[in-house]
Symmetry: C2
Subunit: 156 residues, 2 copies
DNA sequence: CTTTATAACAGAATATAATTCTGTATTTTA
DNA sequence: TAAAATACAGAATTATATTCTGTTATAAAG
């Protein structure tokens, strides 16, 4: 990773589907060289993949909720987290410091679907003590973009 | 949106950079026809865009935290939310039901960076009464994929 | 310091894919 | 039922991705 890779990543983060040739033009290098670098970044795992961003409004999945899951004292954290991660409507599963709890981000059709998810799948889990739901009324920003600094500098 | 579009979206959601020709092969249609549909989905806003997924571990942004921001009684919600949305390290801004509060997802280098963000930028905002931070220790799942049903059926 | 190995790059050649275009069939609308 | 709009295939064209080769720069070894 040097400052050229960094430039490439910044460009890709803006418009992921831009052709290589175009990236090459933007940074003033040959397409073959840029390709080599991108392949390398993929191989190194710096680039994890590419995603389509779909518009949630167009699908039955417009209700977002954050669930704070309190675990029982003897909970099997990892197993529980992985079981939750398997559920399609759960987009994120994080283990939170200081509260023996998990934070979930879920995306479902409506409150009724949320109820079903909670009562039939989450609450019955043995490691789950209780859940607290925060339902999202409106979303002002939602991106997965990793905030990249202006310029590149190595991290020792 | 019909069941063919739906198939296309499902394919793209798995591997966003798959060539059109390949999508066409998978669903047994001519590349030109598939392209036509994809362009239409983009124009309709069903497809919002494409993103690179970078590996957070490789950057200074590996600390995730969820911040619950309680707003003052006379808070200017929209303005505050938009001001927060402008900050690069804040990835998500949601307005939450029932608590006069915002839920933020932030991604910063470390706890010190989080402290700076809180004390210099968020807490000083006039509409912010207080914040409660949940620091993420480990992440088991993190995707922006919208959960699509197995098969397509119109939503009346 | 010099030699040797390694990595990065450009530029051409080739393979593959995107895009455009045209004609036809099918569906919608009036 | 006629007219218009849409969806599609298949060919033609344009553009891009990928591979290959030779060169230069960079790093490692002696």
């Amino acid at each position: 990773m040097d400052h050229i890779d960094f430039k490439i990543l910044k460009i890709l983060q803006t418009k992921a589907r831009i052709p290589n040739v175009e990236v090459a033009r933007e940074i003033g290098m040959a397409p073959s060289a840029v390709l080599e670098r991108i392949k390398k970044l993929e191989a190194q795992g710096v680039i994890d993949g590419y995603e389509v961003r779909l518009n949630p409004d167009q699908f039955e999945g417009s209700l977002i909720a954050f669930l704070h899951v309190t675990l029982t004292r003897n909970a099997r954290i990892k197993e529980t987290a992985m079981a939750l991660a398997d559920m399609a409507s759960i987009q994120e599963v994080h283990y939170i410091a200081g509260e023996d709890g998990l934070m979930l981000k879920v995306r479902v059709a409506d409150t009724s679907a949320l109820e079903t998810l909670l009562t039939t799948r989450i609450n019955p889990m043995p490691s789950v003590a209780r859940t607290k739901s925060s339902i999202v009324l409106s979303t002002f920003k939602e991106t997965a973009k990793i905030p990249l600094p202006e310029t590149y500098h190595t991290t020792p």
